[in-house]
Assembly symmetry: C2
Homo-oligomer: 572 residues x 2
């Protein structure tokens, strides 16, 4: 977040009003040709991602994006760039992230945007930016695209947090460029986009130095920043470009050889939207999102594949954007973000599927067989990311398993991601079945590093091993006895049982459910990712409610004004 | 927390008023002879801890402790009992926890107490009760005193959470006794005393069943509670006593033989308190707590031993309560609780020591040598617990290392627990020194399971190994170069540097500091304990601020009234 009050004299009417709101629905599709805030360029295996925020184009009126500060619009472009680099530029081995403005790398999330946002928007904004940074780290770790932060200026708050998500950080040594976390001293909030966690858990900065650093508004520069482990190296301004390039070239030289060029450009994902009888429908090709605002619930239906699986690299490329896994899970991703940002009062999402389980299994098998192909690997990794986005979506999730559904393999992960599942008990041949497949045993890790089956059966890891041989379709009796679904009412009870469960869930406090689900969904080991989403985010959310930050005289509210904030000094 | 609104018609004036406060300072010393709410009895190696809350004696006016609901006063007695069992009843191998009221084991934390408490009190109350439950688990794991919950009635909310902290849970199968978490459905808060975490991480209950259970106000009873893993077994009422006794006897039979009788009764820890020049002084024998309310800071001085170390079991028993480690750290514990509950605006604590480092080392060595003796082990474990209480105290901690100090061995842990440390740079022979000892390498694990040195040097575990041979006293140069202190100003800069650091720290938002410290202090691995204090507590604290729980129409506020709560349905 931002460190320089002088840059922010401008305050619009909207900012002064108490509860400005995002008016237009937030959309997440974009394209490099439409980027306003980032410049993406290529030099063979090296990509450059230059942040050059157009301060006159915030996502909504009311603030100016000075000093390369960002809002959701800026981060949507970054997320798009990280995704396209993986799919459209497989030859890239190193991504240099720098700023288009010398002396200023990035001032972090825009404070006036934060100050004038609702609590729910702030929380979801932070979650999305956190996910983008985790995806960027995953690209370094799993796609062989190593991100390098070249800090040619001050990186404060979210600016330094972005750098921390990169594998290497280089800082210009020019007497002014610095890294800093001014959140606590200036704004009474936390560096909540992974900052505190990555400081001590990723870079393993000594905790007392991390303490000093995190309370020093002006930050740390030059040799000290290297000595403290905040950056990997510092170079004088005159040599900065060359030294960074040298390190980028070394990364490229040490990397696995080029993986072939782009197969296709990622197509836009745009549903057909309509409203009917008070319900809102978004029709994608494989996904249907139906929102019932009155019931505060939604249905997310995923359709299975409608064409044979591509079983060769060539076929995969021919299918391209229409590859079922790629298209269906990109659509799911878009629907989840739509739910998070544009439908905050929807508390419960029913997960459903429709189609041919054998087709799902065939596509899963084909994709697993193609994971040696970079494109197959990327589609698999993307599927895993979208499923993690589902886990991290703060809405109650119930899977309802009915005739005609295809909860098999990758789509069975929806059941495993759900807070609970209802399967119709039926002895008919066409009664619903569920089916495990090889993908359920590790292809889609959760944030805690375990498969959803491992997390589910934490009490009995041997059961997960036993399930490997249970790949036949299971009716309700098999599903119940294997512990794979929660309840199986018969057709006499189904309507009442499910309806009552839905109504009860929708009647509970949304806050208590958010906290409860955040604690129950991620049993077992902790990772940097779960630490960021659980501990750090929970504390930040707490602070985002505290009068010392967001009250009338709170530090976030008062930022940039001549008066000092006023604090309630009681510690909790 | 409580499940039965009908039990709570009584509402005092104090409860209705908006901000009732704890008037009297909270004190933590008690004695079984003064227990109002628990009955502790013994049958050889089996102890019985019977909860029989005297509803007419809440810790402060304004609520009635119906249905074995508890407040801080009840939990202070429990903490005292758990501590005395370890020190005064080493022969005990099994502790049966049950209720004095049939049909009702414990209804959890009293809702009206919570509803009429300040945010800071609620948070500190939950932290203390969490610590007590973790200590109870530690007694099972490390002191060979296995806790068994014998649920002879409904155990709801905090009642079931208490059971979850026991190693075994048995439930009476009588058609009404149940375990339940009504917090989310009835009160819009979380089972925040470890409940959600222990459910999925200790008992490893399947997450979908945990989800159903945690939203079912009436809870789960009988066979289903066993099938879901919520309890270990259920017995009919007629056989309950006998079956539980059988299991207790089996624990005793399988346990290590009796360790000898009590050595002495734990003495009361009570400082002399006085006020002078606007400062508050608490003089214990080895601890001095000085509070400067105007500066919102305090000094915690620990004195080193003033007598030779007891080097034999007999000498240890002769010293008894006066054993330096036992007395000094019990005093520190009392001072920390005093700070937490009675001095909420003190944001910064300066940690200081005075005495002879060689004496500290001699006492440490003697204690380590006596850890095969149960009493030596208990004193060591208690020291570790108090140091963890220090880690978990939400106040900034600065260690200041000056001439005459004795930051050696166990007292050097204060420096390692501090958020940062200042050591006077001095080339004089009597300049301050610090000194590592064998106890710094694992005797006092943090909540994350690592030693404070391991946590500090997470980036370089080999450095911790190298430090094992650095046991000579170190002046500021040695301390700096070994990475053991943060700063070492000389006598010209000392006053200004330290003063400015103190003033700056005391000027920052207490909330941001609490969140920042909670994230920076516990790098590295996560344990159930860190999960409870970080993730679960942070979410609970967030919820304790939310209007849906504590607003005028929030569920916690409205509990027991005929009207329904009103929710803001936006999810975050």
């Amino acid at each position: 977040m931002l460190a320089d009050p002088a840059a922010f004299r401008y305050r619009s009417k909207a900012m002064e009003s108490a509860t400005p709101q995002v008016q237009e629905p937030v959309r997440f599709g974009t394209h490099p040709s439409r980027y306003r805030h980032w410049k993406l360029s290529f030099d063979g295996p090296t990509a450059r991602l230059v942040m050059a925020v157009d301060d006159r184009h915030p996502m909504r009126d009311g603030y100016v994006l000075k000093l390369n500060s960002y809002d959701l619009g800026v981060d949507v472009e970054l997320a798009d760039a990280v995704q396209r680099l993986r799919f459209e530029h497989p030859e890239v081995r190193c991504v240099l992230v720098s700023s288009g403005t010398d002396n200023c790398f990035c001032a972090g999330a825009n404070i006036y945007m934060l100050g004038s946002s609702t609590h729910a928007f702030k929380v979801n904004f932070c979650k999305f930016t956190n996910e983008t940074r985790i995806y960027l780290e995953e690209a370094s770790a799993k796609s062989g695209q190593t991100y390098v932060a070249a800090l040619n200026g001050v990186a404060s708050g979210g600016g330094y947090e972005l750098a921390l998500a990169c594998e290497h950080i280089y800082l210009q040594d020019d007497g002014s460029s610095a890294v800093s976390f001014p959140e606590t001293p200036l704004l009474a909030v936390l560096p909540g986009t992974g900052g505190l966690t990555r400081l001590v858990d990723k870079r393993k900065v000594r905790r007392d130095l991390a303490d000093v650093f995190s309370t020093l508004a002006e930050g740390v520069r030059g040799k000290r920043s290297k000595d403290w482990g905040l950056v990997d190296d510092v170079f004088p301004k005159s040599k900065f470009e060359a030294e960074v390039k040298k390190r980028g070239d070394a990364i490229v030289a040490a990397a696995a050889p080029k993986e072939g060029g782009a197969a296709f450009e990622l197509a836009a994902i745009e549903p057909e939207r309509r409203e009917e009888n008070g319900k809102l429908f978004s029709h994608y090709r494989y996904v249907e999102l139906t929102i019932d605002p009155g019931a505060r619930s939604a249905t997310l239906l995923m359709r299975g594949p409608d064409a044979p699986a591509p079983t060769t690299s060539e076929a995969l490329r021919r299918e391209g954007n229409d590859t079922w896994h790629l298209r269906a899970f990109r659509e799911l991703d878009d629907a989840l973000l739509d739910l998070r940002f544009n439908h905050p009062t929807v508390g419960l999402v029913l997960l459903q599927t429709k189609g041919d389980a054998a087709q799902v299994q065939a596509h899963d098998a084909a994709l697993l067989a193609l994971q040696g192909d970079w494109l197959g690997r990327e589609i698999l990794l993307n599927t895993a990311r979208v499923l993690r986005r589902l886990d991290l979506t703060a809405r109650s999730l119930f899977a309802t398993i009915e005739p005609g559904s295809c909860f098999a393999g990758s789509l069975f992960e929806l059941t495993l991601a759900a807070d609970r599942s209802y399967m119709l008990a039926s002895d008919d041949a066409d009664g619903p079945k569920i089916q495990l497949g090889p993908v359920n045993f590790g292809a889609f890790p959760m944030s805690n590093g375990l498969s959803r089956l491992q997390t589910r059966f934490l009490a009995k890891p041997s059961h997960v091993e036993a399930l490997r041989s249970e790949t036949a379709p299971q009716d309700h009796e098999g599903a119940l006895s294997l512990g794979l679904v929660t309840f199986a009412p018969d057709d006499i009870d189904w309507d009442d049982d499910v309806r009552i469960a839905i109504e009860e869930r929708a009647s509970l406090s949304p806050d208590a459910l958010t906290g409860m689900e955040a604690n129950l969904r991620f049993a077992g080991p902790e990772t940097m990712e779960t630490k960021i989403f659980a501990r750090l985010s929970a504390w930040q959310n707490w602070i985002f409610q505290r009068p010392n930050a967001v009250g009338e005289r709170g530090a976030l509210t008062m930022y940039g004004r001549p008066e000092r904030p006023e604090f309630d000094w009681r510690r909790t």
